[in-house]
Subunit: 190 residues, 2 copies
């Protein structure tokens, strides 16, 4: 008996993600969302409940996609080569809404307000860090890097470097590709 929505929910979440990623939480108004999603307020709230609820969905899609890209890279090239390629891959996409990481942007914007979305962002970052650690561990198992290192320590540092890279890539007049190459290069010396 029901009537179907005339939109693709997944695509709406992707469009929201791109807008939130670029403009941030406070920087994205409901008018902006209505324009990009081609939805009136009533439909919007029927579909997503609130701005924050949609932001959460958008951030989840962002995190899952990032994790997927890394895993695919690891499947194709092996763990250490994946970690080497990832930084460059992440900043070279000209079509991406922003160079900086959506999770870190959200964290920095909302952490001081104790906003639940900041905590959510940190959880996604932790998941990513675990995946980094797993790849370092695999690289040790296959003898690609010295097994004396603690994979968790390597992952922690790698993620910090990646976050720094992506902030730098957001700046004008900074050769981020060169930094990415340096990060990749430093992994060959493990």
């Amino acid at each position: 008996m029901p009537r179907k929505p005339n939109y693709d929910r997944n695509e709406l979440i992707e469009r929201s993600r791109d807008l939130f990623w670029r403009r941030g939480w406070a920087g994205t108004s409901l008018k902006d969302l209505e324009a990009v999603l081609q939805m009136k307020p009533g439909s919007f709230y029927a579909a997503f409940g609130s701005k924050d609820a949609l932001f959460k969905l958008a951030m989840e899609k962002y995190a899952v996609d990032g994790l997927d890209r890394l895993k695919r890279l690891a499947t194709e090239y092996g763990p250490i080569k994946a970690l080497q390629r990832f930084p460059q891959m992440v900043i070279e996409n000209e079509e991406a809404p922003a160079k900086a990481c959506m999770l870190s942007k959200t964290l920095l914007e909302l952490q001081a307000h104790n906003h639940p979305l900041a905590h959510e962002a940190n959880l996604h970052l932790l998941k990513m860090e675990s995946q980094f650690a797993e790849l370092f561990e695999q690289a040790q198992s296959s003898g690609e890097i010295d097994s004396a290192y603690d994979p968790q320590v390597l992952a922690r540092r790698y993620q910090s470097d990646l976050l720094g890279l992506r902030v730098s890539a957001e700046r004008e007049g900074v050769d981020a590709m060169a930094i990415a190459a340096e990060i990749a290069d430093s992994l060959t010396r493990l």
Copy 2:
């Protein structure tokens, strides 16, 4: 004939800096500022002109103070030791409004809106980067590090690492001091 203001302008700017640093640009309302500065709207606008104008002043103070701390560190310990100590110093201050860099927070928040303050933040970051490069150069002159390196390249990477560290330090459950130690340690291998 005139009447003197009954406040210390410099202190007001410092209090504003702390609030802006912690809460960000959009996250700080005029009500917040009025509360912290103990000023009514009229006085506020007579004194500073606008929220953005005060933010600019606050950011300048932030940048100048940061530069000063680095320079004092270099005078006391020498260039390379200063660069080694700086990361730890920057994240260990518990009284600071935030661990993350105010300039990077401003850049990430406002860059996508082409807000003048984002450009301003980048200029301050460039100045800081120049100071890093100068210290690396001094370290080369005194033979502390290999002179084959390009000081600008070292400075670019150092600043990126520092920005990453400070984002990481903002997170819960991340041992930022360990990352700071690693950054410092990597400078001994130059």
